[in-house]
């Protein structure tokens, strides 16, 4: 391996203008919070305070939900073809300002600019473009018996793909005729706040999209509001269960997109170099802050040593550092809390007896960082093999037969995604049929598309986002 150094290539921060303080976006305008409380949002790569955002309390949430109720009157009278045009316009505006959004996303969340620029933002725009076209074709999607919107929808999104998750939630909800109160994650609210400005710019009717910022208490107020007709949540399984419990006995629709512990199965007849790339992308994409990350490598026993050797070599080429450097592969861990969780889990993995490999690299002094890590010599009952780490940490298990691979892969409460690597077509189909997972990548990993449904089996949640199936999350069946 050569040691050629890369010259820095830093994307300028000057393109973004961040206000010192933000209110909520309710009824088409930014308003100061009733709570009069704020919290800082920082850059996880420098720990520098970027801005202060409002913490929504019960009254703030009530104000937003009422605005969405009023907005619904106007939105339900808006012809579907006109709803469609608003969404097309939003897609175009996002494309035009995508560089600004990408820099803001990387600053506030810590993800590498090459990902926010080349993955998140193009997907966000495409997602609005895709669902825009559905707005006036809802009757065709699932028949006229399944074509009515819920009404006011509460949406709570996570910090790993802030604007992308906004687009997964907001675009289908508006296309199907619902109005929205959205709460972004407390550590990554800035791109959602910029998106609110765009809604104003395209002239979206007041109250159709409302944004309320804050922490877990704000989300809880939203879930418990009496006039919410549907909750869509993406985040951890524990919070998902809490939300499902909170809604017990209430006639409120619910879709949950929760955690995962995906098996990435590498058979001995796989194209190994391609599989190495796929495994690396599967776990180190977005610092491993991905619910569908391929965090359990299941490698067939007879190729274990050769595969791990190739994998470690490839991992060593990953560049960890400034998210705004265009050469960076692995950015900052999203928050101090998350870094502590990852560190604790990895320490536990070592004390359980796992063999840890970490790449040699220098980490920046400020900010939150974790070296790309690989565990081998792991038993199936170790915590690192069963629980979601949500960081750049890959756990290796071995198997001898396809049956055993499937058994290990399914031996989890989660069921979000899985990967299969083999050159044999019949083995792909055989394996895919038997895996309990909502998304299966064969000879690829972590591919997403607005036209492709995403969502889990078992405790990874229920409902789908994306594609024709994603419409079902925002439509009620009328009998």
């Amino acid at each position: 391996m050569n040691n050629w150094e890369y010259a820095e290539s830093i994307e300028s921060e000057k393109i973004v203008k961040i206000e010192k303080k933000y209110g909520h976006f309710i009824n088409g305008e930014f308003v100061s919070p009733n709570s009069k409380k704020y919290l800082d949002t920082i850059s996880p790569s420098s720990e520098e305070v970027l801005s202060s955002i409002s913490i929504g309390n019960e009254k703030d949430v009530d104000f937003a939900v009422n605005a969405a109720k009023e907005g619904l009157k106007q939105w339900s009278k808006t012809p579907p073809s006109e709803r469609s045009k608003y969404l097309f316009k939003l897609a175009r505006l996002i494309q035009e300002r995508s560089r600004e959004f990408a820099v803001l996303e990387s600053l506030d969340g810590g993800k590498p600019i090459k990902e926010s620029r080349d993955f998140d933002l193009p997907q966000v725009a495409q997602n609005f473009f895709y669902y825009a076209g559905w707005a006036d074709k809802i009757d065709l999607a699932w028949g006229s018996g399944i074509s009515k919107p819920y009404g006011v929808v509460g949406q709570i999104i996570p910090w790993n793909f802030p604007l992308l998750m906004l687009s997964w939630k907001v675009a289908p909800a508006l296309a199907t005729g619902n109005t929205v109160v959205l709460k972004p994650a407390e550590t990554t609210p800035l791109t959602a706040l910029l998106f609110a400005e765009l809604c104003d710019e395209v002239g979206l009717p007041k109250g159709v999209f409302n944004l309320i910022t804050g922490d877990g208490t704000t989300g809880s107020e939203l879930v418990n509001h009496k006039d919410i007709k549907k909750i869509a949540f993406t985040g951890s399984t524990s919070v998902g269960k809490y939300i499902q419990k909170s809604l017990a006995g209430r006639d409120v629709g619910l879709t949950l997109e929760l955690g995962g512990k995906a098996a990435n199965i590498v058979y001995n007849d796989a194209a190994l170099d391609e599989a190495v790339e796929g495994v690396v992308n599967g776990i180190f994409f977005n610092q491993g802050h991905v619910c569908c990350a391929g965090s359990r490598l299941l490698v067939q026993e007879d190729i274990h040593d050769v595969f791990i050797n190739k994998l470690e070599k490839r991992m060593q080429t990953l560049r960890v550092g400034n998210p705004l450097d265009k050469n960076t592969d692995i950015g900052a861990i999203n928050s101090k809390d998350q870094l502590e969780k990852i560190t604790d889990m990895v320490n536990e993995g070592v004390s359980d007896g796992g063999e840890l490999f970490q790449i040699e690299c220098e980490l920046p002094k400020n900010g939150f960082w974790f070296k790309p890590s690989l565990f081998t010599g792991v038993q199936v009952n170790y915590k690192i093999a069963t629980e979601e780490i949500f960081g750049p940490v890959l756990t290796t298990l071995t198997f001898r037969t396809p049956d055993e691979a499937v058994e290990i892969a399914n031996n989890t409460e989660y069921g979000l995604s899985a990967g299969i690597w083999t050159e044999k077509g019949s083995k792909i189909l055989w394996t895919a049929d038997r895996l309990d997972a909502g998304v299966i990548w064969a000879n690829t990993f972590n591919k997403f598309d607005p036209a492709s449904p995403f969502g889990g089996y078992k405790e990874s949640g229920f409902g789908r986002e994306g594609g024709r199936h994603g419409l079902l999350s925002y439509l009620k069946a009328s009998s």
């Binding site: 699932w142 895919a432 909502g438 299966i440 009998s479």
Partner: protein
Amino acid sequence: MTEVKKTYKHYVDGKFIRSESGKVYAIDLKKEKYEIPLTSKKDLRDAVTSSKAGFAKWNSLTMYNKSQILYRLSEMIEGNKESYIALLQQHGLTKNDSKNDVEDAVNTIIWYAGIVDKWEQLTGNLNPVAGEYFNISHQEPIGVTFSLSSDDISLNSLVKSFLPPMSVGCSVISFSNQNAVLALKLSEDINNSDFPSGSLNILTGNFENIVEDVGAHVEIRLAAIYSNISNDLLETLDVKGSDSVKRIVNLPSDEGLGSIIPFVETKTVWHPKGQ
């Protein structure tokens, strides 16, 4: 000659059994009073064990085979039509209403028998992703399903509470209260229709006695409530179910494609295209 009175029993794992608790409850019909098995927590657990094995068996049959088994159920009912009409009349329905209900039930079964090998062509599709990938979304049955049937005295309502999950490949524990005699009579024809053991189990009793266990049992993947239950019961079921992210469907649609959508999971598979 003294008339012989039938003893009604649960139908679990292809066998007619009493409640392990020995407990019963009474259903008073016009001519006869029947002592019906009262499901205990242990009965439910046993039924789940059977349904789990039954799911593997039922789901492994081809759609064509499943379709024929459902169709055979309609043939069995047709052959015993007069006895169903008589039983419904015993529940207080008029002869005409009873006849219509049995005919509706046969028609419903035939509708679902006919959709078994077609629904996936309506719910699945290729996805036109922006790239060189083969990408397909298809559906799989969620698995062991608990179904609380409607309390209507209606064979048609009863079959509508288990056909939607059965037709997509789920195994079902069908639970009845006021329509228990009807459900247990139907189990005899179910037994004659070549259903694999455990694919469709029939229990009777008081839902209140087992609601917490239905919610908490992680092997029950979905609970479908076709009866109007109290808000307290629903809340208990939801709270218990949330611990395992259980799918709970209150008053699902009972016709058309909308009736089967709650019982399927969508699986999306990607593969690159290349040389």
